[in-house]
Subunit: 458 residues, 2 copies
């Protein structure tokens, strides 16, 4: 009997919401779908500003735009939080070809990885060693690698429902490939693009040399998945083929940039902060509509929707447009550092940085007592098919705010198409569907509403 | 206590599946995502055959292709089921303009509705009356309508999570608009396209004149949502503006066509049939990739996946490629008619005809005892985020098979983008994502597997 009661308690007893909340979600839904301005905001950010890598002129334009738009929304206070960001410039379009024998060449689509050094101006040209893992690299050793270009070609796994998981299992090739390959004398690395589809779009993204001195750094580039397949096939026919890579990217000294922060003071619990955010910077190849323009405008839309339904938050709402998520997360570091110094109490933080696709639910970083309550809210989201609530993971910009008591969350849109666009030249506004973007804003506003109303379990 | 036990029973007691099923779904998933051939099949159907309206040469090409591909899959038996289908031809591209005053004109994007008559070869030109509903039309009456063109401009509702519901609430304007307007002396109708997005693509689709004699029929066209907005705005400024419409479509006599049917006999219960299908015909403007090429290749893929995992069905599996869903559902009628005559026992039928997008779940037409069991299977699909199981609705082609004992189901993909493509020139192969298509095939194969293993509750 005790078991039965316990089970019943689990299933039935702790619905921390009321019918009023169902109605509120409906009102938020209607407002999102009928009078959101997220799509128009994103149109401007994507098409009038465009790609906005940290340290670039466009990134500063985006800061000014964000400040202006947040002021338009009627926040009590909007300010810029200064920080230093890396400045890396791609330079002229990269060039690469496969030479199977003198005079027989195939052009391939590549792009420098963010943070990579340049090749000499004539490029590098060398034999290629294909590997699927760092273990394989190690096994081959200096004897087989020295003086060559290492080609990391482990594809993202198709048979994972979360493409982010597939990304997580493959991305070390990009982030650490150069640092690993240089140990064995490689003169450059080319990395299969982090995408699941076979296409011609190379995917950029951040990489690191660790503590390697400047003189030891080797150039690192991504190659499109189609070209990776081609190179792999050609290597079987002719293991002695040569690869030519030319890129003229450069790392400059750090420059000043900013997080953009907006705040509306809570009417009852002004010391309890609820943060909503995304990152304002993007890679330079596309216009960053999915990564992470969508998250920026959805975050802004939360207050827009609250305004439209005349909802006065009990807790302090902050919208933060983080700078430099892509290649340094310096914005996140600065924000959490200042927050800690000022003893700010972030009870809940929500990030949207997984694309502007149809939302499927949220992931949470939470203790169990709060997660139990959160699970009871699932029912509220089920009519909108946004009812996948998982434990584990929030967002790169808010992760440093974790303190064991508070709750962090990430919006989880459908991930199937995300890595078709991520860090490529086709991450552009035309790949955004207005309804899907608005559904994300609805989901975020609803979750913020619930945390504002109920707070967290202490 | 009784209530508690009842509740517990509801929550816990009737999981009709085993751990083995979880493993089987995993295997089906891996096979779908790693070695499906649905995308390649769809590439051929969409790009090498293309749009395939009933009665067209392309529709017959599609029949031959379907027959060949089903034979390739190793069915015991593949055959064509003859039927008569309507033959309607669009003719040269339609033309329309708004004339606000003599010499001041705006071209607008229109297309004839399927089944419409032509205008005179010079077109029709008349004043326009905008209405949102048949009630409004009736209220205006003959005095305001006679000799004019009626413009049906009620948009699909944005604030419904299911865009199919929004479609259902707006589509009578298209299907019955002409028959209604002609009662009050209208000389033509233009209908706001059945889409949620503002764009320039007119959406075709079927319409009916009811029992109207040939001489009374008036031309009916769809106008793009952007043009509908423009026309509506211009009508406010100038209610006397004129609209010119020219279309040369024509209805011919019915012609012979075919359903394509493939069968593999059940090893244990050969008399219990499980049907999987979609419709082979499409509208003529695009290549019908989402509507319903996706459903066709996903249905085929079920057997492909069964073959690859060496699964031998206990019940008879039929794949049916229905002809003429779009403008007559004659294939569905013929199939159910022949099935009834032969006393065939379809215990389960599954249709995919809602696009090739990321699957969210299924809708079911089922009695409660079967639906209860089906609900217990939800858990199996939850790890794949395909866990929205709703009661109500299956598919137009299988609906006639309903008998009160059996179960009918429809695959329910994410619907947010569907009506951006539906019945337009942009319903083409490039709008299909390979993973999303394969996830649908996985979901369908898994559900078919469960019905094959467990049958239905009698």
């Amino acid at each position: 009997m005790k078991i039965i009661i316990t089970l019943l308690t689990f299933f039935l007893a702790f619905n921390v919401f009321s019918q009023n909340d169902e109605e509120m979600l409906k009102e938020i839904f209607n407002t999102s779908m009928n009078s959101s301005n997220s799509y128009e905001l994103l149109d401007y950010l994507s098409n009038e500003i465009g790609g906005r890598l940290s340290g670039s002129l466009n990134a500063e334009r985006a800061v000014k735009w964000g400040e202006k738009e947040l002021n338009n929304l009627g926040f009590n206070k909007v300010w810029l939080q200064e920080l230093m960001v890396p400045k890396w410039i791609r330079g002229p379009k990269e060039f690469a070809l496969i030479e199977t024998q003198p005079g027989v060449t195939f052009n391939v689509d590549v792009c420098a990885l963010g943070g990579s050094v340049a090749t000499p101006s004539v490029g590098i040209k060398a034999n290629v060693v294909e590997v699927k893992s760092f273990e394989e690299l190690k096994k081959l050793g200096k004897g087989n690698i020295d003086g060559k270009i290492v080609f990391f070609n482990r594809p993202m796994q198709s048979n994972l429902i979360s493409t982010f998981q597939a990304y997580g299992e493959a991305v070390s090739q990009r982030t650490n490939g150069a640092a690993e390959a240089v140990k064995y004398g490689a003169i450059g690395v080319i990395v299969r693009s982090m995408g699941l589809r076979l296409d011609d779009n190379p995917h950029t993204g951040t990489m690191s040399y660790g503590n390697l001195p400047e003189s030891k750094k080797i150039p690192a580039a991504a190659i499109s998945t189609n070209a990776a397949e081609k190179l792999s096939d050609l290597l079987i026919i002719n293991p002695k083929l040569k690869f030519l890579l030319r890129q003229q990217c450069k790392q400059y000294n750090d420059v000043i940039s900013h997080n953009v922060i907006a705040e509306i003071k809570g009417s009852e619990y002004p010391d309890e902060i609820i943060l909503i955010g995304g990152h304002l910077d993007s890679w330079d190849l596309g216009d960053g509509s999915h990564d992470d323009g969508a998250g920026i405008v959805q975050s802004m839309d939360v207050l827009n929707i609250f305004n439209k339904i005349n909802y006065v938050p009990k807790r302090t709402i902050r919208v933060v447009l983080f700078m430099n998520e892509e290649n340094g997360t310096r914005g996140a570091k600065k924000y959490s550092e200042v927050s800690k110094k000022n003893n700010l109490n972030h009870i809940f933080a929500l990030e949207s940085d997984a694309g502007g696709f149809s939302p499927r639910g949220f992931s949470f970083t939470s203790n169990l007592k709060n997660f139990k309550r959160i699970l009871s809210w699932k029912k509220l989201f089920e009519p909108y098919l946004i009812h996948s609530f998982l434990l584990g993971g929030s967002g790169a910009d808010i992760a440093p705010l974790k303190n064991g008591n508070n709750v962090l969350a990430g919006l989880r849109p459908d991930s199937q198409r995300y890595f078709d666009y991520h860090h490529t030249s086709i991450d552009t506004f035309d790949a955004i569907n207005k309804r899907e973007l608005e559904l994300g804003a609805f989901a975020m506003t609803s979750l913020v509403y619930l945390f504002d109303k109920y707070g967290i379990v202490k």
